[in-house]
C-alpha cells in the first residue's frame, strides 16, 4: 500500500474553519469552509474533513493553524504561573519598563497585572555575567528550598528566567531539571527567547508557561483523534510548521499562527509570478493584516503586543489594523471616521439584519453595488439593501452629503486607514510600497484591493488561487521550519568567528526536526543584526555562515545606505543573530480544480455599480470559475465566488494566470 498522499491544511479561525487539501502526488486540490465551533475545536476539524470528502486513510500530513493561544491571551483566560528569578529581581514583571500604555487616560491602569502574582515569585541565589561568566554559582540547598516551595504551592506551570541566561543557560537548565520533577509544565527563558532585556524575556517565558496546560490538553485530544499515519504539525507565528513536541514546549509559537499562515501562502504567488517585493492584504471582518514580502520572503519582526501583553520572539511581521468589513463608520468633529470599532460577526453590519444598525464598510460595499444582495451568505443570511441605505442615509444627512457620496466616502476612508498600514510596513523597511505588488486575500481583501492600489499608486494587484481559504492553504503547503534569535554582542574590531559559530550551533540544537526531515537535510538561513555603536535599531544583514567580518562590513554599510540614505566608516557591533532552519523538501504545488477555457468569458448578470460620485456604471458580474488561465476582462467588472468578491474598477484589466491567480493592472501599460 502506498503512503497516503494528501496534505491537508486546516485554519480554525474565530468565525470559520477553512480547509485546503492537496494531493501531493497529482497537485489536485480541494477546499471548503465550515463554521467554527469555538467550544469544540476538534468538532470543527472533523467537519472540515468531512466537507473535503477525505478520510484519515487518505491523509499523509495534517497541518493545523489555530487561534487557541491567541484567544486565551486576548480573553485573559490564562492561569497564574510561578516565576523563578535571580535573587533581587523577582518583581521584574511589576516594574516592567516603567512606561504606561495610554498617555492621556488617567482611568486606565498603566499596566495589566502580571501573570506571576507576588505569592508565586521565587528568588534563586545565583548570578551570571553579561558575557556568560558565572559570578555566583547556584547553591544546591537554595535550589532545594525553591523547588520545595513551588512544589507546595500547587501551581501547574513554572517559568524560570534568570539574568543573562541568553549568554549562559547553565543555571536555568539546572533549575529546570529539578523543577520538571515536581511541576507538570516548566518553561525556561533561554529556550523561549534567548535575548537580552529581562522584562521582555521574562514576559514571554511567563506567557509561554501559562499557555502550556491549555495547549498540552489540545494536543492530547488531537493525538487521540489523528492516526499515526497522518503526520500531524502545527503552523507557527514565524511562518512554518512545528512538531507537536516543539509546540508543547513553546506554545507561544502559536500566538500569531493564523495571519502568518496567510502570508506564508503568499510566498507561493510571489514565486509563481516572480515578484521581488509584494505586500499582502488580508482583510477580514474586524481587522486587516498587512505584511511586506521582500525578495520573496516575508519580513520578520522581533516583538508584538497582544492585548497589551508584550510577546518577544521572531514572528512574521504582520501589521494589524482595526479595519474590516464590519468596521463602523461614524462622525467625529465633522470628519468621517471608519473603525477601529467593529460590528463584528454579531450584531454584524446593518444589512445583515441581525441586530446591527450602525453603518459599516460592508453596508457601503452593498450600496455601491459591489456585493450581490441576491447572493446568500454562509449562514443563509441575505443582505438587505434597505437596511444598509437607512444606516448610511443617517450618516449622509448628518454630513450633508448625498447617499452615494457617503458610501464612497466610507470606502475611501477605510482605504486611507489601510494605506497608512501599508506605509508603516514599507517605510519602516526602507521600501517604496508603490513598487510592490499587492496580494489580496481574506473575505474582504479582493473587494478593496483595486481601489486601494489606485489610492496608493500601486500598479498591480493579484488575487491568488484559494484566496478565501488562504491561511489553510499556507498550512497545507508548509514545511518544517523554525526561526530563533539570540543575543550575541560582538564589536567588529573584536571579532571572534569561534564564539559566533558556537552560539549559532547552540541555537540550531534547540530546534526539533524529526528523523525524516534530518535525512532529507536542513537548510539554514543566517541573519546578523548589526548597528553602529549607540544606534537604537539594528540593520538585518543576511550572511553566509561562517560570517566574515569584511563581508558583513560591506553589506551592513550598503544596507544602511539603502535604508537611511547614508553610512559612515565607523566600527559597528553585532547585537544578535537569527537563524531560520527549514527542512529541505520538494516544493508543493496546489492547483485549483480545472475550469472551462474561455479567453473572453461572458457575464452572468449586470449590476449598477458606483465607482465615482458621477453615477452608476453598468457592470458585468462573472463567476470566478469562468476565469480559466488566459481569460482577460477589462473593468468595470465584478468577479465573485462563493466566499468573496473582486472589484475591478473601470479601465482596470484582469487576467487569469496559469496558476489560477487573477492579476489586475492599472494605468496605460498593458
Amino acid at each position: 500500500m502506498s503512503a497516503p498522499s494528501w496534505r491537508v491544511g486546516v485554519d480554525i479561525g474565530g468565525t470559520f474553519t477553512d480547509v485546503v487539501g492537496i494531493d501531493a502526488s497529482t497537485g489536485v486540490s480541494r477546499t471548503a469552509k465550515v463554521r467554527t465551533r469555538l467550544e469544540d475545536p476538534l468538532a470543527s476539524l472533523r467537519a472540515a474533513f468531512a466537507a473535503l470528502d477525505l478520510g484519515w486513510d487518505d491523509v499523509g500530513v495534517l497541518v493545523h493553524g489555530t487561534t487557541v493561544v491567541t484567544n486565551a491571551i486576548v480573553e485573559e483566560k490564562l492561569p497564574p504561573v510561578a516565576l523563578v528569578a535571580t535573587a533581587g529581581f523577582a518583581d521584574v514583571l511589576s516594574i516592567g519598563r516603567q512606561n504606561r500604555r495610554s498617555l492621556y487616560s488617567l482611568s486606565l491602569a498603566p499596566r495589566l497585572p502580571p501573570l506571576a502574582p507576588e505569592r508565586l515569585r521565587f528568588e534563586l541565589r545565583e548570578r551570571m555575567g553579561p558575557d556568560g561568566r558565572v559570578k555566583t554559582s547556584i547553591d544546591s540547598a537554595d535550589l532545594d528550598r525553591v523547588v520545595e516551595a513551588i512544589s507546595k504551592s500547587g501551581v501547574s506551570s513554572v517559568a524560570v528566567s534568570l539574568l543573562h541566561s541568553y549568554a549562559n543557560p547553565g543555571h536555568e537548565a539546572l533549575a529546570g531539571e529539578r523543577l520538571a520533577a515536581v511541576v507538570p509544565h516548566v518553561s525556561l527563558s533561554h529556550r523561549v527567547n534567548p535575548e537580552e532585556r529581562e522584562f521582555e524575556r521574562t514576559s514571554a517565558t511567563v506567557l509561554n508557561a501559562a499557555a502550556m496546560p491549555l495547549v498540552g490538553a489540545h494536543l492530547d485530544e488531537l493525538a487521540h483523534e489523528v492516526p499515526p499515519t497522518a503526520h500531524f504539525h502545527l503552523f507557527h507565528s514565524a511562518g512554518g510548521m512545528a512538531t507537536p513536541a516543539m509546540v508543547r514546549e513553546r506554545p507561544l509559537l502559536l500566538a500569531l499562527s493564523g495571519p502568518a499562515a496567510g502570508v506564508s501562502a503568499a510566498r507561493q504567488v510571489a514565486s509563481d509570478l516572480q515578484l521581488d517585493n509584494a505586500l499582502t492584504l488580508d482583510m477580514g471582518g474586524t481587522t486587516t493584516d498587512v505584511c511586506l514580502i521582500r525578495n520573496g520572503k516575508p519580513e520578520t519582526r522581533r516583538e508584538a503586543s497582544l492585548a497589551d501583553r508584550p510577546i518577544r520572539q521572531p514572528m512574521v511581521a504582520v501589521h494589524s489594523i482595526g479595519a474590516g468589513g464590519g468596521s463602523i463608520a461614524y462622525i467625529e468633529a465633522g470628519m468621517l471616521k471608519v473603525g477601529p470599532q467593529s460590528a463584528g460577526a454579531s450584531p454584524g453590519p446593518a444589512c445583515y439584519g441581525s441586530g446591527g444598525t450602525a453603518a459599516t464598510v460592508t453596508d457601503a460595499n452593498l450600496l455601491l453595488g459591489y456585493l450581490d444582495a441576491s447572493h446568500a451568505l454562509a449562514d443563509g443570511v441575505r443582505m438587505d439593501r434597505g437596511r444598509a441605505q437607512a444606516a448610511i442615509g443617517d450618516l449622509a444627512r448628518e454630513l450633508d452629503l448625498r447617499l452615494m457620496d457617503a458610501a464612497l466616502g466610507i470606502v475611501r476612508v477605510a482605504n486611507a486607514n489601510m494605506v497608512r498600514a501599508i506605509r508603516n510596513v514599507t517605510v519602516d523597511r526602507g521600501i517604496d510600497g508603490r513598487r510592490c505588488t499587492l496580494v489580496a486575500f481574506g473575505g474582504a481583501g479582493p473587494l478593496h484591493a483595486a481601489t486601494l492600489a489606485r489610492d496608493f499608486g500601486i500598479g498591480r494587484v493579484v488575487v491568488p488561487a484559494f484566496s478565501s481559504a488562504y491561511s489553510a492553504l499556507g498550512c497545507a503547503m508548509a514545511q518544517l521550519s523554525y526561526t530563533q534569535q539570540r543575543t550575541v554582542r560582538m564589536a567588529s574590531r573584536d571579532w571572534s568567528p569561534e564564539r559566533l559559530a558556537r552560539a549559532r550551533a547552540e541555537l540550531l540544537a534547540g530546534m526539533a526536526f524529526d528523523r525524516a526531515a534530518q535525512a532529507d537535510g536542513v537548510e539554514v538561513a543566517d541573519v546578523a543584526l548589526v548597528r553602529y555603536v549607540g544606534q537604537s535599531y539594528s540593520v538585518e544583514v543576511p550572511y553566509r555562515h561562517p560570517a566574515q567580518v569584511e563581508a558583513l562590513t560591506r553589506d551592513f554599510r550598503e544596507l544602511h545606505r539603502q535604508l537611511y540614505g547614508f553610512f559612515t566608516e565607523e566600527d559597528w557591533e553585532l547585537e544578535a543573530i537569527r537563524v531560520t532552519a527549514s527542512a529541505v523538501a520538494p516544493p508543493i504545488g496546489a492547483h485549483p480544480p480545472p475550469m472551462a477555457r474561455s479567453a473572453r468569458p461572458s457575464a452572468r448578470s449586470t449590476a449598477e455599480c458606483w465607482f465615482s460620485a458621477a453615477g452608476p456604471t453598468p457592470t458585468p458580474r462573472y463567476h470566478r470559475e469562468q476565469m480559466a488561465a488566459g481569460a482577460r476582462i477589462t473593468g468595470p467588472a465584478i468577479v465573485e465566488d462563493e466566499w468573496s468578491t473582486i472589484t475591478l474598477p473601470p479601465g482596470a484589466r484582469l487576467e487569469a494566470t496559469v496558476h489560477g491567480h487573477l492579476s489586475m493592472t492599472f494605468g496605460s501599460a498593458p
Binding site: 511589576s94 529581562e198 468633529a333 452629503l401 466616502g409 497608512r420 544606534q535 537604537s536 535604508l563
Partner: protein
C-alpha cells in the same frame, strides 16, 4: 463659514498628515545615536502651516506637544520667511525660541510648492550631549545657561547645495561625541526630507489650495473640540500650588502657583504668582507651561483632540517675566524641562481637586528621577548612562495606583539591568518594589522602586536631577502622601550611607553603591473607606 472641503477628503488628508509626521519619527528613531532615543524615544516630529501653526504631530510626547506649537512661530520672528529657500534645514536649540532646554535640538525645513512656502517640518531630538560643563550636559550646579552647553541660534546647516561644512564643524566642535552628533544631525535632516516628499505627494494629489484649506479646517476643528471640552467642566475660579524641593543651589522650596478661570468655552491659566526665577537649573519656559496645561486638558477631554495649534486658541496661559516660568534668558534651565513641567501639572491638579478630583489621580512620581552616570569603559571610551526612575502612581477614586511607572509629562522607559551590565561598568544589585511606599487611603498609592547600582570602575561622575525628595507626592481627598524619593550612597567599605541630594554632581569610585528608592504614590480617600478594587502587583 462655508465648507471649503468635504468631510471625507478632510479625513483622508488628516490621516496622511499624521502618517507623514509619524514617518519622520520613525526615521529618527531608527538611525539616530542617542541612547535616549534607543530606550526612551525622547524625540518628536511635527508639521506646521506656513505661519508656524502646528497641524500634525508624529510621536506624541506631552512635553514636546506644547513646545512644538511655538518653535516655528518664534523662529519666523527671527528669520524672515522671505529668506528661506527650498532645501534649507535650520537647526536651533535656544529655549526662548519655542524651546525647553539645550539638549533638545530642533531641525526645521521650510517646504515649498509652486514656488510658495506652504508648510514646515520640524524634528526634535534629545542629543546625548550638547557640550557645557559636564558630559551629558546635565550640570546640576549651573548658575547660568552657558555652563549648560552650546546655544545654537537659528543656523542653516543644509541648503539645496548640501551641508554647510563650516557651520556643521562649528557645532560639532562644541559638543562631545562629534561623530555620533553628526549622525543625529543627518537623521533629523533625513526625517524632514521624508516629510517634504509626503507633503509634495499630497499637494500633487489634492491640490495646494485644498491642502491649505484642510490645514485651516483641522485647526478650527481642534479649537471647537477644545471649546466643547472646556464647556463640559464646571465654571469658576480655582487656585492651587505645589513646590519644587530646591534649585540645587539653595535648599529653599520654590512655589508654582496657578489661578485657573474656567469660563464658557474658554479657560485661562495664570501662573504669575509663582516664585521668581531660580538661581539653579530648574527654570523653564512659558512654552513648557503651555505644554503642561495642554496635557491636563487632554486628560479631561472626553474624546481625543487632534494635536494642533487650534487646540490652544480657547486657552490663555500667562506667566510673569522674571518668574521661574519666564526667566531671564541667562538663567540655567536643563532640569526645568522634566521637573518643573511636572510641578506645573501638580499645581493644576491640586487647584482642580475640589471640583474634579474624581477624574484625576493623587500625587505621583512627578519627577524624572534622573541619575546620570558618566564613566570610562574598559576600552577607554567614555560612556554615559542616562537613567530615569519611575515611582508609584497616585491612587484614583476607583483604583489603587500602579507600582513603578512614569506619569504625566513623560513616558520614558527604563534601561534593563541586562543592558546596563553589558554596556557599562556597573552591576545592578537588585531591582524590586519598594513595598509599603505608597500612601494609605481608601485606595492606596502605588509602590515605588528600589534599584541598587554598584560601580565596577573608578572615576565615575554622578549627576542627580530629581524631585519629591523633600515635598512628597500628595494624597487626594484625605489620602496619605507617598514616601518621598531617596537616593543613598554607600562608599566602598563604609557601613552607612549618605543621602544624595536632588540636584548634585558627585565623584564615585570602584565598589561604591548607589541605591535609588523612588517615591510612592499618594493615596485617595480616607483609609478604611473602601478596600475594593485593589490591584495585584
Amino acid at each position: 463659514m462655508t465648507r471649503a472641503i468635504d468631510p471625507v477628503t478632510l479625513e483622508v488628508i488628516r490621516s496622511a498628515l499624521t502618517a507623514a509626521a509619524e514617518e519622520m519619527s520613525l526615521v529618527v528613531m531608527r538611525s539616530a545615536r542617542s541612547p535616549l532615543l534607543r530606550e526612551a524615544g525622547d524625540l518628536s516630529s511635527a508639521l506646521t502651516d506656513a505661519g508656524g501653526e502646528m497641524i500634525a504631530q508624529g510621536r506624541d510626547i506631552p512635553m514636546h506637544l506644547g513646545v512644538m506649537c511655538f518653535t516655528v512661530k518664534e523662529f519666523l520672528k527671527r528669520v524672515p520667511a522671505a529668506s528661506l529657500a527650498p532645501g534649507d534645514v535650520w537647526f536651533l536649540n535656544l529655549p526662548e525660541i519655542g524651546g525647553n532646554h539645550l539638549p533638545d535640538v530642533k531641525a526645521i525645513r521650510p517646504i515649498f510648492a509652486g514656488g510658495h512656502l506652504f508648510a514646515f517640518a520640524v524634528s526634535l531630538a534629545h542629543w546625548a550631549d550638547i557640550g557645557g560643563a559636564v558630559p551629558g550636559s546635565y550640570y546640576a550646579s549651573a548658575t547660568d545657561i552657558w555652563q549648560e552647553g552650546l546655544r545654537i541660534s537659528p543656523t542653516r546647516l543644509f541648503s539645496a547645495d548640501g551641508p554647510d561644512r563650516e557651520k556643521l564643524t562649528l557645532v560639532l566642535s562644541n559638543v562631545r561625541g562629534a561623530p555620533e552628533r553628526e549622525g543625529d544631525i543627518h537623521a533629523q535632516m533625513a526625517s524632514t526630507l521624508a516629510a517634504e516628499r509626503r507633503l509634495h505627494d499630497l499637494a500633487e494629489e489634492h491640490g495646494i489650495e485644498t491642502l491649505r484649506a484642510a490645514m485651516a479646517v483641522l485647526q478650527d476643528t481642534s479649537e471647537s473640540q477644545m471649546r466643547a471640552a472646556i464647556r463640559a467642566l464646571p465654571q469658576g475660579v480655582f487656585q492651587g500650588e505645589d513646590f519644587l524641593d530646591d534649585d540645587g543651589i539653595t535648599d529653599r522650596p520654590i512655589a508654582i502657583r496657578v489661578r485657573i478661570d474656567i469660563g464658557d468655552g474658554e479657560a485661562s491659566f495664570d501662573f504669575s504668582a509663582s516664585d521668581d526665577a531660580a538661581e539653579g537649573p530648574v527654570n523653564t519656559t512659558p512654552f513648557i507651561a503651555v505644554a503642561s496645561v495642554l496635557y491636563t486638558m487632554k486628560c479631561l477631554a472626553p474624546s481625543e483632540i487632534q494635536p494642533n495649534g487650534g487646540a490652544l486658541r480657547p486657552i490663555k496661559v500667562s506667566t510673569r517675566p522674571g518668574s521661574i516660568l519666564q526667566p531671564p534668558p541667562t538663567r540655567p534651565v536643563v532640569g526645568g524641562n522634566h521637573e518643573t513641567s511636572q510641578r506645573v501639572v501638580d499645581a493644576i491638579f491640586r487647584a482642580l481637586e475640589p471640583a474634579l478630583g474624581d477624574r484625576l489621580t493623587a500625587g505621583g512620581p512627578t519627577t524624572s528621577g534622573l541619575l546620570l552616570f558618566g564613566m570610562p569603559r574598559a576600552d577607554g571610551a567614555w560612556v554615559t548612562l542616562y537613567e530615569t526612575h519611575g515611582g508609584g502612581e497616585g491612587a484614583r477614586v476607583d483604583r489603587d495606583g500602579s507600582p513603578v511607572v512614569r506619569v504625566h509629562m513623560s513616558n520614558v522607559m527604563n534601561t534593563p539591568a541586562e543592558v546596563i551590565e553589558a554596556e557599562y561598568p556597573i552591576e545592578i544589585g537588585r531591582q524590586a518594589l519598594r513595598r509599603g511606599s505608597g500612601g494609605a487611603g481608601a485606595h492606596r498609592g502605588g509602590d515605588g522602586l528600589v534599584r541598587e547600582y554598584r560601580m565596577l570602575t573608578d572615576g565615575v561622575s554622578l549627576t542627580s536631577m530629581f524631585e519629591r525628595r523633600v515635598v512628597p507626592p500628595y494624597g487626594f481627598r484625605g489620602g496619605s502622601p507617598g514616601a518621598p524619593f531617596r537616593v543613598t550612597l554607600v562608599k566602598d567599605g563604609a557601613g552607612t550611607g549618605i543621602e544624595v541630594k536632588g540636584k548634585t554632581n558627585l565623584r564615585l569610585g570602584k565598589g561604591d553603591r548607589v541605591t535609588v528608592e523612588s517615591c510612592g504614590g499618594g493615596g485617595f480617600g480616607m483609609p478604611g473607606n473602601s478596600s475594593e478594587g485593589t490591584i495585584e502587583k
